[in-house]
Symmetry: C2
């Protein structure tokens, strides 16, 4: 079922049958009744509010629902009945909200246990919630699944639909995930600009990119390349075991050839045995000053790699090479320059989730299918919660080139999602 | 002398007398002869190529100069006669170049000694350079001054004009410096977006901003505020002594009140005795792993402050608060979304430098004068190299509010430079 297509033009959608009640998602009566609630979960993105607005719009368009609530900080607020009434938002307010990055309802990183889920269900009963929409990543889809199963077991009729979101792009069943194209756009733009900076003041520059288990976001750095000698010259993904000795050889080779080297490294790079490099490099060092090895919101991996280079690679004059590290951090997921494709698809995913519920589907998630690459077109399809929940997709082998690069296939995959980058010139 | 005004519209310039040869800058004959060379120096900015193109355009328009050379990597290339011919660039190529961030000619951090400067002058003689334009910060203006004095002492007629550039905004005599408005725009946009992220997943968020001695760039974070409870909630400038104990009290107070706290801290914050906090915090810690305490291109200050918070502030449940640190790094100076005012003024500064030389001025620098704040208008004026060279301007007291904020006067000063930020909405 791939029945909402998205062409190049905004709003160029063709409406068809949605979630006609078949499949393991279970089947209820068509149409909606009672009240609906929407939550946002996990790390925010530049377009998660597009999905929120998409759900609200579609609920209003389809009708049948009396009240539309928003959970304050996801399940964390839902458990306490902390909801807001979203029914009064006027179209111009919705438009501004959709264009605003980060999760307007507030988000949560809670992973509910069965008791926590029972409290959620209790609040849902009290509020007569019959449609439960949860926008988030694979953990959030698992929460959605547990709540749904609990409702089913207790004979409470409530449709639970998950709306995908993650900058990591690691959800199963989807060509890509809303949130990823915009974060990838930030990363590609950043590498492009930083490459020009590194041309002007040459040296080794290491940029650490988000992505604990999947390298899609780090790989997007490759979209920055315009000229043969443009960075990133080396790309290290969590899917490829990271070896510090090989890393130093790689950097030295590029530095000898070009007099500079721009490196993209995923925060989640791991050694042969699956241990995060950030932890390994700090094992004998100042772990206290950095607490437990957290990957985002710290510059520790970049600093440790820069230190390695400084100690091991010298320039032509026999002095340590100039080396700097930047960790792009949270700007990757909130920068207010969303990819157009992403904004459109995130909105469509929200709308599609409502159509699945309205078509009688008791549970499920939404996935994006790419129907054409040039010109780029996509469609939404329904998938089972169990096929998405708590699972992680990683970069497929055909996107990975050896130990330190991505393939042209990856570039063909990512380019239309990210959109055009600013033009630049060199002398 | 403030005789090139810049109104709101692009190119709305009124041409008048420029650098009519008076003042300590010395006086030569009017008009230009021989060849010209242009260099770019120090940390790149988003608009330093605007100034480069401004110089080229004006040299062509005024005429008299035979060849226009560009130094490869500033004085470092000039010393070796490594120059490129800029005379063949066509208008469309210049337009693309002007819009490209970072220094297209390559930059340099060399601080030439007298012997180095003699080599530069020797190459200038060989190339019959009679006009020497150097785009950079206060160190670069000092280089310009030394080369100029050497030429004068040796009786070699060469006009040496410095074109201002620095994201730090720390040049004397100027209302502000080309490069600063664009970097400030990045910082304000980043704080605005990150504030929304921090609203969604509350905690303490520390963002480290460039600026070793001057707090202008860190202060620009305050432009991100839209609502009463928006961050940044605390702003720490290098002009105000930083005390870790007071910092913890400040953070805890905001956190108790709002349940979150977004902090802007300059990489250059110092203790009462002028020692960088980054060095102090690491004094007893793992200095080896971070080499000598460099301020940019490392996450060490942010990580150390985050660690302080983690160890000293607990949430309502008695657990350490959620705390993250991001160091904005080099993206601040190369992000390809220049402020419009900045792009226009950087171009105008380059053009004005040529007009100073053509008017017979033997040496000097260009400064920006604000002629009106609402609507914003500025003009260029000539200043003496000695008044700019190797001097540092810091945030004036009227821009600093107590220990951890900026004043409305600063906001009125910075807002027109940065321009409009994306609109956002909250529920």
């Amino acid at each position: 079922m791939a029945d909402e297509t998205h062409g190049k033009r905004e709003g160029a959608t063709r409406r068809g049958r949605a979630g006609s009640g078949g499949g393991r998602g279970g089947s209820g009566t068509r149409g909606l009744r009672g009240n609906a609630v929407i939550g946002q979960s996990g790390g925010p993105t530049a377009v998660i509010n597009q999905s929120l607005v998409g759900v609200i719009e579609a609920l209003r368009a389809i009708g049948g629902v009396k009240k539309i609530y928003g959970m304050r900080h996801g399940v964390s607020g839902m458990r306490q009945g902390d909801v807001v009434d979203l029914g009064r938002l006027r179209p111009d307010a919705l438009k501004r909200l959709a264009a605003t990055p980060s999760a307007a309802l507030g988000s949560s990183r809670d992973k509910p246990d069965p008791e926590y889920c029972r409290a959620i269900l209790e609040r849902c009963r009290e509020l007569d919630i019959r449609s439960f929409f949860y926008i988030g990543g694979n953990d959030s889809s698992d929460t959605c699944r547990i709540v749904c199963e609990l409702a089913h077991a207790e004979g409470y009729e409530m449709r639970c639909i998950h709306v995908p979101k993650t900058v990591d792009n690691d959800l199963m069943e989807s060509d890509h995930t809303p949130g990823y194209p915009s974060a990838a756009r930030f990363v590609a733009t950043a590498f492009m600009a930083d490459n020009l900076d590194n041309r002007a003041l040459p040296g080794v520059k290491i940029n650490v990119v988000m992505g604990r288990n999947a390298g899609f976001l780090t790989a997007a750095a490759a979209l920055a390349r315009r000229r043969e000698d443009d960075g990133p010259h080396l790309i290290y993904l969590p899917e490829v075991p990271f070896n510090t000795r090989r890393f130093l050889v790689d950097v030295e080779n590029v530095y000898r050839r070009l007099g500079r080297c721009q490196v993209a490294v995923s925060e989640g790079v791991q050694d042969d045995e699956g241990r995060p490099i950030a932890a390994t490099l700090l094992a004998g060092a100042d772990v206290d000053a950095h607490g437990n090895v957290q990957l985002s919101g710290t510059g520790v991996l970049g600093d440790a790699l820069a230190d390695l280079v400084k100690k091991n690679i010298t320039n032509a004059a026999g002095k340590p090479v100039r080396v700097r590290a930047d960790t792009f951090g949270y700007l990757q997921r909130c920068w207010p320059d969303a990819s157009r494709v992403d904004a459109r698809e995130a909105r469509a995913a929200g709308r599609y989730a409502v159509r699945l519920a309205a078509a009688g589907r008791m549970s499920g998630s939404v996935a994006i299918v790419r129907t054409s690459n040039r010109p780029y077109r996509s469609a939404m399809k329904a998938v089972e919660l169990a096929d998405v929940a708590a699972k992680t997709r990683r970069m497929p082998p055909e996107f990975i080139d050896g130990m330190n690069d991505v393939t042209p296939a990856f570039l063909r995959y990512a380019a239309p999602l990210v959109g055009d980058l600013p033009e630049t010139a060199v002398l």
